[in-house]
Amino acid sequence: MQDILSLAATNLLSPIILSFALGVAAALARSDLNIPEAVAKGMSIYLLFAIGFKGGVSVADHGIDGTLALSLVAGIVLSAVLPLIAFALLQVLGNLSRLDAAAVAAHYGSISIVTFVAGTSVLEASGITSEGYMVAVAAAMEAPAILSALWLVSRGGDSRRMDSELMREIMLNGSIVLLVGSFLIGWITGVDGLVKIEAFIVSPFQGVLCLFLLDMGLVAGRGLRGGSGVLRPGVLAFGLVMPLVGASAGLVAGLLLGLSTGGVALFMVLSASASYIAVPAAMRVALPEANPSIYLTLSLGVTFPFNLTIGLPVYVAVASALTGG
């Protein structure tokens, strides 16, 4: 318990979390602080490239085994199953329409890549290593949840099919292409490749992540300000309970796979996080009648800050305790 509190305190007072808090506070106080859209986009490209590349280098350095394939399968299964759990939980807590509940559930099966990046940063700061291929697991967990949500809707008699254009957009969305592409580049070029661009993708990483999370704080704060009246208490509670349910499922999967402490922690982070980039876009196409204020406010305004401030240190501490790391 002492370890968890110590790690939580260290995490809460880290520059990345304080930058996020500054963004939330500025938005809630209606400050005109703003990160230009193009700058935010540039930073997200940088972070995705860096995290993918470093993951690829790690795989090249340590080699791969059967656990990689099993981890990918486990990630896909989790992404497909978590929406079913989320949907059931929403039936109990949320009193939402079937469409809204399915749309929310899709977000909680998919992942937040920013939470994943912050998770790797917390692990690095704690000196805990993880499997480099978790980047590929993150990419694999983006899409299955969307199919599960559409299945949930179709079970209610409202047949929605996934058209090929939507499937292409989901599978080839910029984040996935960049993450997987940079992972492959890192894997192919290995440590030699890393040495050549280390000054660009390693040293500035934490500083860029601070500014990016400042922007995410602004977005989350604005979302909270605008959507505070949208969420009923039950739905709000779901946004705090579901990450813990997801993290527990990720913990079981990570332990069964025999991953390292960092790998288990990242599986928990991925399973606990909720999408706010890929899935909202897919939901607007496939389920346009679902209320975006509910799922965006929940995933971005409630679950993302919860995971960033409280979830990450708890997941890392639990993974450490159970793996002896």
Binding site: E37, E165, D215, V219, G226, P280, A281, A282, E289
Partner: protein, 103 residues
């Protein structure tokens, strides 16, 4: 200067639907249109601003096209098939153009 009657159709729609809408317009024979970013606004779903949007799913665009009056119905039918279930505004107004053969 000689001008010619035409119709100006402006469709404000979610960004994720942009390619689907322009694809439907092209299938209906409408090959000329302009796409503009939308900065913000307010409607039945409340106020909205482009500032700070993190997801492409929540952005909006405006697709504007100028066509001959006799092609309006076919064009609106094609557009409506795409925008029917989505947030958005479709307006039609009269306008005049200088070079009728281009529309």
């Amino acid at each position: 200067m000689q001008t010619h009657q035409a119709k100006r159709v402006a469709i404000i729609i979610e960004q994720v639907m942009e390619s689907r809408l322009t694809g439907a317009l092209e299938d209906a024979g409408v090959t000329g249109f302009t796409i503009l970013p939308v900065l913000g606004g307010s409607g039945r779903s409340g106020a909205w601003s482009r500032e700070g949007q993190v997801s492409r799913g929540t952005g909006m665009v405006q697709v504007v096209c100028i066509i001959r009056p006799e092609r309006l119905d076919a064009m609106l039918e094609a557009a409506f098939a795409v925008v029917e279930r989505h947030i958005g505004v479709v307006t039609v107004s009269d306008c005049e153009v200088l070079r009728a053969e281009r529309f």
